[in-house]
């Protein structure tokens, strides 16, 4: 019953909600980012990070540090926190937490299939996979030649199996098909997650609907922009858009026929929530669009913490942590390559 979750939420979710809010207080603040941006070397970054929550993860690293090590250790912290929460959770929270990782599973599957196509070694690819998206038979993906085999050999046993019904073809895998497969899987995943949240009802449904609708709209815009000038037909493009969100269905109709970024801007400016994002960009520019979308996402994720007794805080925390890891990766790369003037191009402050 919406409005009365406070009476029964804490039976199963009270402890974990308090834990996730405690983790949120450990996210890096603007002051931390300012300190990090002023570092000269990666060792300085390690020293600043050891004063934050990342301390125990980075302190044993030997001294010529690489940016990939920093990112790997920070991701390890996220994975540890996630696994701790997952093993304490009961239904339906445990299913909800598992849903959060299916996006990473899809990314890992696409990574391995693409890498195999380009004749990379499977072990090397496995090391690049995101740890939250690992599943048991993932290494077998390297053997598959087309999508039907991919499904039959590996994916039918994973949670991604129901998302494959729309994209099984017998064509061989190549770059274009793999991108279409990635987007089709992600579309099926978002819709499934949306339906699951609607079934949970209450505050979770309301907050997660908003966050997932933003995700769906953002993906629609990115698909449109990335497919401008490629051989993707308008109908194919339309099939990749999700069936929920603010842009569904009229915005999708308009986006499907866009041929350049200014037309996309014209479509998006009709929607008041997205108008400030697009007004920040000057005409013809699309590099800052990613950062503008990330900022809007971070704002919405932080707002979900304002309400108590719902599951949206878990999703929001995972996303905010991923954003923080992206920030750290950008800062470390800028410092390592001596391009400190570009540091603020892509860092999104969370607090």
């Amino acid at each position: 019953m919406y409005g009365f979750e406070a009476m029964t939420f804490n039976i199963h979710g009270g402890y974990l909600e308090a834990i996730v809010r405690g983790h949120r207080s450990g996210l890096l603040t603007a002051a931390d980012y300012n300190n990090l941006c002023q570092c000269e070397t990666l060792d300085d970054i390690k020293m600043h990070l050891s004063a934050t929550e990342y301390g125990p993860y980075l302190q044993n690293e030997p001294s010529p540090l690489h940016t990939t090590t920093i990112v790997e250790k920070c991701t390890l912290k996220l994975v540890d926190e996630y696994k701790h929460m997952l093993c304490q959770a009961t239904e339906p929270l445990s299913t909800f937490l598992e849903y959060i990782t299916y996006g990473h599973m899809i990314d890992n599957v696409v990574l391995i299939v693409t890498g195999t196509l380009h004749e990379r070694d499977v072990q090397e690819l496995l090391e690049k996979c995101h740890p939250l998206g690992m599943f048991d038979s993932i290494a077998t993906l390297a053997v598959a030649q087309n999508m039907r085999e991919l499904y039959r050999l590996v994916l039918v046993d994973t949670p991604l199996a129901p998302y494959f019904s729309e994209c099984i073809t017998s064509e061989d895998l190549d770059d274009m098909n793999i991108e279409i497969m990635r987007n089709t899987l992600y579309k099926a995943y978002l819709e499934d997650f949306y339906r699951f949240c609607q079934k949970l009802g209450g505050a979770t449904a309301e907050i997660m609907s908003d966050l997932l609708a933003f995700e769906a709209d953002r993906r629609a815009v990115n698909i449109t922009i990335n497919s401008i000038g490629t051989e993707l037909t308008r109908d194919d493009r339309r099939k990749l858009y999700s069936t929920f969100g603010l842009l569904y269905p009229y915005g999708h109709e308009e986006l499907a026929v866009c041929e350049d970024i200014d037309q996309v801007r014209g479509v998006m400016e009709k929607y008041p929530p997205y108008q400030p994002i697009f007004s920040k960009l000057s005409y013809g520019e699309s590099q800052m669009l990613d950062k503008a979308f990330y900022e809007e996402e971070v704002k919405r994720l932080c707002l979900s913490f304002e309400q108590q007794f719902h599951y949206g805080v878990f999703f929001a925390y995972m996303r905010l942590k991923e954003q923080e890891i992206r920030n750290l990766m950008w800062i470390s790369e800028c410092v390592a390559q001596n391009q400190k003037s570009r540091v603020h191009d892509s860092v999104v402050f969370i607090f």
């Binding site: 406070a6 009476m7 804490n10 039976i11 009270g14 402890y15 974990l16 909600e17 308090a18 834990i19 809010r21 405690g22 983790h23 207080s25 450990g26 108590q308």
Partner: protein
């Protein structure tokens, strides 16, 4: 029989209601007073306690101060016990010819109503204090200046139980059973 004055109501259900012994009503009132108060207190304590335990992992300093929320919830159960004890002292034996006299019925209904008032007031008070206590623990873990401000809200919440106790005791004060034949 002596019931003719009482049974102004016709119809078998109304007569059945009037024939329920006032002792039954009193006993149920006392049971509700203590039972439902304790339900409210327990509900509030688990709501606060689960959030408090989780939040105290990252911020151990909050544990001692936030036990006040648990104490406010516990107070609700104590109100229930006090009122139940007061009500059971009001329960007296009446001679069997007077059991269905209007005075007896009035006493029985007064104890019943008092029990219901106290029980349900304490139920919602316990719930209220519990939910606020949970939010208090989580906010205190993030920013310790918020604790005292949210505690004021909790104090207003716990006053609700007190209102119930006061009205319940006033109701039960008029529960006088007839003594003469």
């Amino acid at each position: 029989m002596s019931g003719t004055i009482v049974m102004g109501a016709s119809g078998s259900w109304a007569r059945a209601m009037l024939k329920i012994s006032p002792y039954t009503f009193s006993a149920i009132g006392i049971a509700v007073a203590i039972g439902i108060s304790v339900l409210g207190a327990a509900w509030g304590i688990y709501i606060t306690g689960s959030s408090l335990i989780g939040a105290a992992i990252k911020a151990p300093r909050i544990t001692s101060k936030n036990l006040i929320s648990v104490i406010f919830c516990e107070a609700v159960a104590i109100y229930g016990v006090i009122v139940a004890i007061i009500l059971q002292t009001k329960l007296e034996s009446v001679p069997s010819s007077q059991i269905y006299a209007p005075e007896s019925l009035r006493a029985g209904y007064a104890i019943f109503a008092s029990g219901i008032i106290v029980g349900f007031a304490n139920l919602v008070c316990g719930l209220c204090v519990g939910i606020i206590g949970s939010s208090c623990a989580l906010s205190d873990a993030q920013n310790s200046s918020l604790f005292v401000k949210i505690l004021v809200i909790e104090i207003f919440g716990s006053a609700l139980g007190l209102f119930g106790v006061i009205v319940g005791i006033i109701m039960s004060a008029q529960a006088t059973w007839p003594t003469t034949v």
